[in-house]
């Protein structure tokens, strides 16, 4: 277990680091897609197959594409010349290191973590479906409402209203028909 897991974890972490530190935004988005696939691979190794496939479907197939489309719609596809870091980035790095040290210390020294490994569970789709429809049916309905609200909200926020009519749109005056024809020949014969 460890070797395959550590390899996948290293790939995922490197891709995530690249996603956050590259200059070109589209490269960041593509590295994000790679890190999502790495996380899906980790889920598959932890016997959570349904979750792994859902991760690929939702994150790689939809969210990564959404991020890419937003990058293109805000015209940020080119590599920026100026600095990519916000003002006050050093404070951010300090806080990040602090957060990670805290989490790492908690994980390594905690006595609440279970020390014995349970046998590998077998979460069949049937069990997940049963549980979703009996025990967790209320969160399911709420999620449905929430997704509808989010969809409508996203459309409303990003809706482009009708641009005001400029002078050009009032219409270029059409020249009278006769001025478009060639001048009539003097004798009236066909040219």
């Amino acid at each position: 277990m460890p070797i395959a897991f550590i390899l996948t974890a290293v790939v995922t972490l490197l891709a995530a680091a690249a996603a956050m530190s590259l200059r070109n935004l589209v490269h960041c988005a593509l590295m994000l897609a790679v890190s999502f696939s790495g996380i899906a691979a980790i889920y598959l190794q932890l016997n959570a197959e349904f979750v792994g496939f859902t991760e690929i479907l939702v994150y790689v197939g939809a969210i990564a594409i959404l991020i890419v489309m937003a990058i293109l719609l805000t015209r940020s596809g080119e590599t920026p010349d100026k600095s990519v870091l916000t003002s006050g980035w050093m404070a951010g790095i300090v806080v990040t290191v602090f957060v990670f040290v805290l989490l790492g210390w908690a994980v390594l020294n905690s006595s609440a973590l279970p020390q014995t490994m349970a046998p590998a569970p077998h979460a069949t789709v049937k069990n997940i479906g049963d549980v979703l429809m009996t025990k967790y049916v209320l969160p399911l309905e709420i999620i449905a409402l929430m997704l509808t609200a989010a969809m409508i909200g996203a459309v409303v926020i990003a809706y482009r209203e009708e641009a005001p009519k400029t002078k050009r749109e009032e219409g270029i005056p059409i020249p009278p028909r006769d001025s478009l024809l060639p001048p009539p020949s003097p004798t009236g014969e066909k040219a």
Binding site: V51, I63, S83, V107, M117, A118, Y136, M151
Partner: protein
């Protein structure tokens, strides 16, 4: 180190990476990317505890993660719509320049 601790450290490192990006980068979309990474780290944490915990038959971890993914997708959609709306209004997606509430 037990496998559980390896998983948890991975997820902590992923969370820290996402957090670093979210507070350091200047572009609004990259902040959302960082948020997505943090959400994924939390999901990984949940699955690790489900797998190595005492009662994996209850499927609580998996259901929690499925709902969390649905929420993350909705939040990404709305967040990106917001970024697009702000870009249309202020012609910039640089977070240092979008710092006034006045429209």
């Amino acid at each position: 180190m037990t496998p559980l601790q390896i998983c948890l450290l991975t997820s902590a490192l992923l969370f820290a990476t996402g957090f670093a990006g979210a507070v350091t980068r200047r572009h609004a979309i990259l902040v959302l990317v960082g948020i997505e990474l943090m959400l994924n780290a939390a999901n990984l944490n949940l699955i690790a505890f489900w797998r190595f915990g005492p009662n994996p038959e209850a499927l609580t971890g998996i259901i929690f993660v499925l709902f969390s993914m649905a929420l993350a997708a909705a939040e990404a959609a709305v967040g990106l719509a917001l970024v697009i709306a702000i870009y249309r209004h202020k012609k910039t997606s640089n977070l240092d320049e979008v710092k006034e509430l006045k429209g």
